[in-house]
């Protein structure tokens, strides 16, 4: 009986008893969720445009952040380093289109998926070769990103919001809004959606598949850079960040591989769900449930909606 109480009653009693901690937990989950959503967005963009599940999205985040910090370490001013990193991500998108996508066009999906595995190892090796494997601190203040916290004595306690987390939430939201506008309102965005719907039809009306792939991979690179800066500021820039990117997998399962709103909503559900789970229910089983809880939530959703919350329902004639 006490076990049932500790699962179904006590956590909610705690939430009511210490609302400041509940708000703090929700905030931490929200920030984490926004960043998961950004990572997932990178996966979704590429999957929609080229049908490739880009396993290298995580390492692209590390590579982008590492390039930025590494260039700064070598004496390049922060904003010039940022501009150069954007150029590097563009060059990467070009290289991916020329070296991987174009030669492998019309190959089965699994071949393209495996090619992104190869890309992962190339980027790991290149990053380590050029910038070394040791972790680096994000150049937060040089990029004029805020530091410190805003503390609110409220709800019978303290709610502390890190300024960098607030910046992360704002920047991520802005990026999502800009991307949504870009894809809805611009000619290139419409072309991308056409490619996502039907490659053959898009080609028949004169849309350049090669150009679209470069744009999409470049956009995913920019998203990776923004995510890398934010995660890097929260901890540091190291190859361990790649593991964090795997958190996008349950987000994608939940939100659907082809849905931008799905990536955002999925990210928030996973981010907030795992923090609430770890904080209120984790201690019941000795803690450390965060790493599998995200998958548990995603699988629970799959039971009822196999296509994810926002994924396309595929109906095939047998």
């Amino acid at each position: 009986m006490s076990f049932v109480y500790s699962i179904f009653v006590d956590p909610f009693v705690q939430m009511i008893g210490a609302p400041d901690l509940l708000v703090q937990t929700l905030w931490e989950g929200l920030v984490g969720g926004v960043l998961y959503a950004l990572i997932a967005l990178g996966f979704v963009l590429i999957f929609k445009a080229s049908g490739v599940f880009n396993f290298a999205q995580g390492i692209m985040m590390v590579f982008a952040a590492l390039t930025l910090v590494g260039l700064h370490e070598k004496g390049v001013p922060a904003f010039l380093a940022l501009a150069l990193t954007i150029l590097v991500m563009f060059a990467l998108a070009l290289a991916v289109e020329r070296v991987i996508l174009r030669p492998l066009v019309n190959q089965p999906d699994i071949i393209l998926f495996m090619a992104t595995f190869g890309l992962t190892y190339v980027l790991i090796g290149l990053g380590e070769l050029v910038f070394g494997g040791n972790p680096k601190n994000m150049i937060t203040s040089e990029l004029l990103l805020p530091s410190g916290s805003l503390d609110f004595k409220t709800l019978g306690g303290l709610v502390s919001l890190q300024k960098i987390d607030i910046a992360a939430a704002i920047i991520a939201s802005l990026m999502v809004a800009v991307l949504a506008l870009f894809f809805q309102k611009t000619r290139i965005g419409r072309a991308l959606r056409a490619v996502a719907d039907d490659h053959q039809a898009a080609l028949s009306v004169g849309i350049s598949l090669d150009q679209i792939w470069v744009i999409v991979w470049f956009t995913a690179g920019l998203v990776a850079l923004a995510t890398g800066i934010m995660w890097g500021a929260r901890s540091n820039v190291s190859f361990a960040l790649e593991i964090i990117a795997l958190k996008a997998l349950p987000v994608l399962i939940l939100g659907g591989l082809t849905s931008v709103p799905g990536a955002i909503v999925g990210g928030l559900i996973i981010g907030i769900g795992e923090k609430l789970g770890e904080f209120y229910w984790g201690p019941l089983v000795g803690g450390g449930i965060e790493s599998w809880l995200a998958y548990f939530i995603a699988l629970a959703v799959l039971l009822f909606r196999p296509q994810g919350l926002f994924g396309e329902k595929i109906i095939e004639r047998i």
Partner: protein, 441 residues
């Protein structure tokens, strides 16, 4: 004739290629493989240690021509702190007759423990690995000087007791334990449970999965709710800088946050001014101001034979690597003395480790006077259980802030013995020790 010529050419080419691919160890050298990780999530800790280990052995080759006139053949194998890769490294180096193996991972050490006696390769897991392997009677091939993780926790507890006015004052206190949820971090849990009972404190556990090393906000929210009087960390790699940053973010009093001996200067520096006051255990110098480090700089770093940036030479984890290689070298030297052979084997070096006796005079001769304390191992004690001290981050460097702290041997030793016995029973039939014990140990 043409066929014969072609065959001879092919034979010559094959021989040449084989010789190139598998260089035989020169007869006047001993083979010391170093399992390192310069890549992956744990590279932040691994790179400094790898550089320190490699550079010290290179320095011996350059300055002294090796050990006792025998060159040291050093070879790194990249494990990425991955147990599977570590075992592949072990299989790769085994045919080359290594005189010992340094796994540099508790996860890699654990599966090697039963193999060591079979393959006749001693394992040096310096201040990591299975704490109970300090019991030489049960684990004749495993060595983990100068302290076990259990010693380390007891030393931290003793330090906390000192801050509170005595170990009896721990009754009713809350001590948080944040740890990497892997073999290494879980290793001291039985001891913590026992000491919590003995001293009446409440242990609050905060496991951090490897996948969440850089995402610890939930653990630190728990810390904020539980309000432990002290926090103890057993972290590694990216877990450490993130934990220190989260502690700062949570406004946890940093002078009550004490780590086992693994954080580097960079781990604390990343958290900015808020990290001032953070504490950790150590047993050696964290500066380049020792003759041994000067020699490394002169013969290796300045000569362009090191992978380490110059400013990292002499830092905490770099010096840890130097200490590790000093143990390797002294074990080989002792083995040479014990056996009278120049080119020693793994079996000889196992004896050398059991006979290891690095006293103050020897430390001075090694250029390590004031760098660390003496250590003596024996057939039954493969650890030494040496005292450590607490050093504190002042914003730019670690500063020693305590005297030498002995482990709580009266508590730890019986538990280590019991754990060694339990290990042998669990892994029955665990072979009884048949290795002879040299008179001098």
């Amino acid at each position: 004739m043409t066929n014969l010529k072609a065959s001879l050419l092919a034979l010559a080419a094959t021989t040449a290629l084989t010789a190139f691919a598998f260089p035989a160890q020169a007869e006047d050298s001993v083979f010391v493989p170093l399992f390192t990780y310069r890549t992956g999530p744990f590279a932040g800790s691994g790179i400094f240690i790898a550089d320190g280990m490699h550079d010290y052995l290179t320095m011996l080759n350059e300055r002294d021509g090796g050990i006792g006139g025998v060159k040291i053949a050093v070879e790194e194998c990249e494990t990425g702190y991955d147990t599977k890769k570590g075992l592949e490294c072990y299989e790769a180096v085994k045919p080359k007759n290594p005189v010992m193996v340094n796994p540099w991972s508790t996860g890699i050490t654990l599966p090697l423990i039963p193999r060591a006696a079979v393959d006749k390769i001693p394992i040096l897991s310096m201040a990591y690995g299975l704490s109970a392997s300090a019991q030489g009677d049960t684990f004749p091939w495993i060595f983990n000087p100068p302290d076990t993780y259990w010693d380390g926790f007891s030393q931290i507890l003793k330090f906390i007791g000192g801050q509170e006015g005595g170990l009896d004052k721990l009754k009713g206190k809350k001590i948080g334990y944040i740890y990497l949820d892997a073999g290494f971090g879980r290793e001291p849990l039985p001891l913590i449970e026992q000491l919590a009972k003995d001293y009446g404190f409440e242990a609050k556990l905060y496991p951090v999965a490897a996948a969440e090393m850089q995402n610890q906000s939930a653990q630190w929210l728990n810390v904020r709710r539980d309000r432990p009087d002290y926090m103890v960390m057993y972290g590694w790699g990216a877990m450490q800088p993130t934990a220190i940053k989260e502690a700062v973010k949570t406004n946890y009093p940093m002078d009550k946050f004490i780590s086992i001996w693994w954080p580097s200067e960079d781990d604390a520096r990343g958290a900015g001014d808020g990290a001032k006051g953070f504490k950790m255990l150590n047993w050696h110098g964290s500066t380049p101001d020792f003759p041994v480090i000067k020699d490394v700089q002169k013969y290796v770093v300045d000569a362009g034979k090191s992978q380490s940036p110059k400013e990292k030479v002499g830092t905490t984890l770099y010096n840890r690597g130097v200490y590790n290689s000093m143990l390797i070298a002294e074990a080989i030297r002792t083995a040479q003395q014990v056996t009278g052979k120049k080119v020693v084997t793994g079996e000889d070096v196992r004896r050398g480790l059991e006979d290891l006796n690095i006293d103050a005079a020897r430390l001075k001769a090694l250029g390590m006077e004031g760098f660390t304390g003496p250590i003596k191992l024996s057939c039954s004690d493969h650890n030494g259980h040496r005292p450590t001290f607490v050093q504190q981050w002042d914003g730019t460097k670690y500063v020693k802030v305590s005297d030498w702290i002995e482990p709580l041997s009266d508590k730890v030793q019986p538990l280590l013995q019991a754990d060694a016995k339990a290990y042998a029973e669990k892994n029955a039939p665990w072979p009884a020790r048949t290795e002879a014990c040299d008179a001098r140990s």
